[in-house]
Symmetry: C2
Subunit: 289 residues, 2 copies
């Protein structure tokens, strides 16, 4: 596998030949957590924050990540260097390791993988013409702690994305079990109403996105009102702008939801400003790292 | 790994050395489906029905199982014979195979694994003193098709079981997003009220259990009224018996829910009759398979 690099349980291995045990609970039950990150010119964007969130996610499911931060940083950097790409996607996964049945074994031997592959997402949301969304029939299960962590249980998101594709649009909007706005299939959502920005709080069943928190900080620095708030889907009638955030794609404008134009049906000014500020910061390496 | 046997993508392999790609979507996203079955004296209980359900689950997520039934039967029997156990747990898994990102690749190369390990569950529910349950804080997401198939997204169940253990009981009861009774963490649930049996319908967010459907047939043959019905949790006040069904443990009496005794707080007559009829049929090999 050209341009692929893999670090597995403490050492760099061949991506084509290395294997996970078929008894690994990551494979059998989705019993694990992960992060996806962007590497630009050998530097991993937001690495420290991503490692913090990996440990937070792991803590929620009672999983010990068997490496400390310096070891993980070293492993990830080894893999990023080995792949030799100027733009790459880094994925860090920790699963609970091999074990039969539903309940974790008394002694676990977690599996930790860092993979680096070519980056295929859209980097510069500021230049995007915007995407269209439909509301998924699948609700985000805010009663589950999994709705607030990045676990290996991602099949609902895969199905919701497929649903969107069947409707001929790029992504699906997920409401939670209370019918409130939650997120995209791989992103946090922000809504602009009367010049102020809102994004759902974690209790709505959303991931504490790394880019989400950076955008909240950035908006504050730029003097734009920005707050966490529970959002009814009816808000889209009044919204002038909607955008998504994700560590791999940055800030992505949404121009249509359920066949209805958002605002004027093109990326708005606040979205453009935040997308540009975000990608400038990333490309300049000024972004936390 | 003594007493373990593994069939991977068409051939018997060494359980200790064979590996799944770290890029497999089963490992990275829980993008796959599975079955667990009981092998008694070399015979797999309900094998035909389990293979049917694997294909049903796979169909719901748009995954093609890359082997036909005779090939899967052959592989499973090879692995069962290789393990040499008289009582074993067979697990058959198909994942979507390697691929980056959320969306499946254009051309997939699914991974299929049959593993055979020693059976550790309780076989003879008829002899069980019964188990205790607490209602989980996690709701079963009946808005998702995953609530009705056996997918690799099992972490909610792992967390609900852990919650039950923290309360000092054996299993958790899952309600759905409407607050109706759904299932146990790895089982269907049946409730006996005034001599008649009820079990939640699939639309409540439950798996079409193989043992569940066999129990519905068995009750009918024994002349016991048995129907699918939406069940409010308040029913447990009037229930004289409650039991769980699962392919690995058979029929398991529930004697307490949320610190309240079910009926007289011991396994009831109808549960005992069904548990015994079921395990007799299995042990006699008269059970479909």
């Amino acid at each position: 596998m050209k341009d692929h690099a893999l670090w597995l349980n403490g050492r760099l291995v061949s991506p084509g030949s290395a294997g996970i045990s078929p008894f690994d609970r990551g494979f059998t039950l989705g019993d694990g957590v992960f992060e996806t990150m962007l590497a630009l010119n050998g530097k991993v964007v937001g690495l420290t924050r991503h490692l913090g969130r990996l440990r937070y996610s792991a803590g929620v499911i009672g999983l010990d990540v068997p490496f400390d931060d310096p070891e993980l940083v070293h492993g990830i950097k080894e893999a990023v260097t080995a792949c030799g790409l100027s733009e790459a996607t880094v994925r860090l996964t920790t699963s609970r390791g091999p074990g039969p049945g539903l309940e974790p074994p008394q002694t676990t031997s977690p599996t930790t993988v860092a993979s680096v592959v070519p980056h295929t997402g859209m980097l510069h949301g500021a230049e995007s013409a915007g995407i269209r969304m439909v509301t998924s029939s699948i609700r985000r299960n805010d009663t589950s702690p999994l709705s607030r962590i990045k676990s290996l249980n991602y099949l609902d998101n895969v199905l919701a994305r497929a649903e969107a594709r069947r409707h001929g649009v790029e992504d699906a909007l997920l409401l939670n079990t209370k019918g409130l706005v939650a997120c995209g299939t791989a992103s946090n959502i922000f809504v602009v109403v009367k010049g102020a920005i809102m994004t759902p709080p974690m209790r709505a069943g959303v991931l504490p996105g790394i880019t989400r928190s950076y955008i909240l900080e950035l908006a504050s620095r730029l003097g734009i009102a920005c707050e966490e708030a529970e959002i009814c889907p009816e808000v889209f009638r009044d919204a002038t702008e909607v955008f998504l955030t994700n560590s791999l794609t940055g800030v992505l404008p949404v121009i249509e939801i359920d066949n209805m134009a958002v605002g004027r049906g093109r990326p708005g000014e606040i979205t453009h400003l935040l997308a540009k500020s975000y990608s400038d910061a990333m490309l300049a390496g000024a972004y936390y790292g």
